[in-house]
Amino acid sequence: MIDSKNQNGFNHDPKFMHARLKTGKIWHRLFFSSTAIGIMALIILLISIINQSLGFVAVENIKDPQSISTIPFEQLSNQQLIEILKINLSENRLKTIEREKPLLEMGQSELIKLITEKVVDAKVVASWTLWQSIFEKEKISALVEASYPNAQISFRNWLNWDFLVRSFSSRPELAGIRVAIKGSLLIVLIAIAFAFPIGISSAIYLEEYAHPSKWLNRFIQTNIDNLVGIPSIIYGILGLAVFVRTLAPLTSGEVFGIQGLSSRSILSGGLTIGLLILPMFILNAQEAIRAVPKSLRQASYGLGATKWQTIRSHVLPSAVPGILTGSILAVSRAIGETAPLIVVGASTYITSDPSSPFSGFTALPIIIYNWTTRPQDQFRNIASAAIIVLLISLLSLNALAIFLRNHYNQTRVNL
């Protein structure tokens, strides 16, 4: 009799098979739970942000609209509206308003907006999260009645159009992120203009021209690899030393005949971020170039092409999708960078738009950081709203990268 459990030296015991499958299942569950933990963390992050950016607010008017005019504002003529403004606002405040746009040139809706903002002056005295607003409505009403008898409760979406187009304000309900969005945009544009051409050129040199057996080339390559991992604050310190201090005449615009501006300018910030993403650009372009099939180069060389002809006509066109997608991902990381900008000297409170590369600046992550450190609750609400704006812009950049990759992969076959 042959032992059925041990034929030809192999273990045929069903228990053995069972044990093998069980081991596999355990690992399967382990991997799944790791993924689940990651996803959970992301979901909690999103929920907590959304929770903060929507919810009930208690609004107290400095001046009751009924006391200003018994007729609703919408039914008043422009003349009457201007009259209201003139009665209720001081000479100086009117002047500052008129400096931006004369009252007579304003339309009705603009005038109403001015009155509600400057005269009625609704003030958010308390705010609640979305969770509280849904589940503790009675409690909120009771609290408001007790503490703020003049206040009215309304539901507020902190992330609204006004929030996007308003400039800074010391009052959270009037604050907006326009200046920060423009600042972030300019910084990223300067960074790309600086880092993209240099990055691509270096990648071409290192991949196609540099001989890897030369120690100098290996040394450069190792350094670039390591630069990617350097904490961003160190780039900030580098930017401070180089762009803000050493190159101050350039970054403050003095060389171009602009006097009296600080060298803690958008240009300094943009160049610093450019330095930060430069090694990422180089490495990722190198990878894209390396991924171009050898057979393509051989085909080109086999026809009597020179090195540059091969690079220009075959290597680069094939590498472009990879270079683009990688660069976009690097840029989306750069948009969220905070530390180097703080070191270089981003302002946390600026009300005027950047007018040139030499203006002072702020950026989205800077104001988010600033707002979260304020004591008033309402700043937490607008910080969450700003975080949502930042996240949306990052996600759209990543989506663009994915779209470009798919698009190029398709056209390569379909032409």
């Binding site: 001989h211 890897p212 393509l296 051989q298 060389y301 026809l303 009597g304 006509s313 076959v413």
Partner: protein, 264 residues
């Protein structure tokens, strides 16, 4: 006078190697090869895996230059001139000695551009449309693609792609065409088409083809070189002669063993 005689003599061959040794780092891949390739014939190089067939083929148009560790000793003569002489421009060599690779590798461009790119970079002044048609006709592809010249070359079948690669190579009017196992990725029908095509092309060009397939060498080539490995794993050429003779009356025992299937 003596020099002249020498030149005429070496002109008789399409390409000639003198004691060629090729090294990858310290490893000698090819040892003391003396090969005199017959012009306007199909010359097959056969032998077992790792005997240096492809290495020597790639040496003929200096493709080994791109392998950093590779270097060559000895000389390879084209029209009596050593193509490894420091004054010789490898780009010029590759233009005169075209190459078709193991796997079809058309450019990810249109069929037309696949042919015109190579001639444009070499400064061709004539009519491109005529040249495209001529090259595609010579490579027996014209009838299949004449209506779709602007379609991507990657949309063609493997055999068509390989014939396009041949068309692209002959468009720049080389003197010699190197083929590195051009049919190994193709089915038997596509293989036969390529073999017919080689026969046609050999009227105009010298063809050197490396093949794993002994039947292919026997039926499609005029001359055959047999390579094998010697004891230190370096590739050596055993013999070179008319294909009929090599396959029926080989002079060397090792050739006989290989073609009768006793080895390799």
């Amino acid at each position: 006078m003596k020099n002249n005689e020498l030149k005429i003599q070496s002109d008789h061959y399409a390409i000639e190697t003198n004691f060629v040794n090729i090294y990858y780092g310290k490893f000698r891949a090819v040892k003391d090869v003396n090969l005199k390739i017959q012009p306007q014939k199909i010359n097959a190089i056969i032998g077992p895996s790792g005997c240096g067939k492809t290495t020597i083929l790639r040496a003929f148009n200096r493709m080994n230059d791109f392998i950093l560790t590779a270097h060559l000793e000895g000389e390879i003569l084209l029209h009596g001139q050593n193509i490894y002489h420091p004054d010789v421009n490898p780009v010029e060599v590759r233009r005169k000695i075209g190459m078709v690779f193991q796997r079809p590798n058309p450019f990810p461009k249109s069929i037309r551009e696949n042919i015109t790119w190579g001639v444009k970079i070499n400064g061709y002044q004539g009519n491109l449309d005529d040249l495209v048609e001529e090259s595609l006709r010579q490579s027996a592809l014209w009838d299949e693609v004449k209506d779709n010249l602007d379609k991507s070359a990657l949309s063609l079948s493997g055999g068509q792609q390989q014939r396009l690669c041949i068309a692209r190579t002959i468009a720049v009017k080389p003197e010699i065409i190197l083929m590195d196992e051009p049919c190994s990725a193709l089915d038997p029908i596509a293989t036969l088409k390529i073999e017919d095509l080689m026969r046609e092309l050999s009227k105009l060009y010298t063809i050197i083809i490396v093949t794993h397939n002994m039947q292919q060498a026997a039926r499609a080539s005029d001359y055959t070189a047999f390579f094998t490995m010697d004891e230190d794993r370096a590739g050596v050429m055993v013999e070179y002669g008319e294909t009929g003779l090599i396959f029926t009356r080989p002079t060397d025992k090792r050739t006989e063993d290989y073609i009768t299937g006793r080895f390799g």
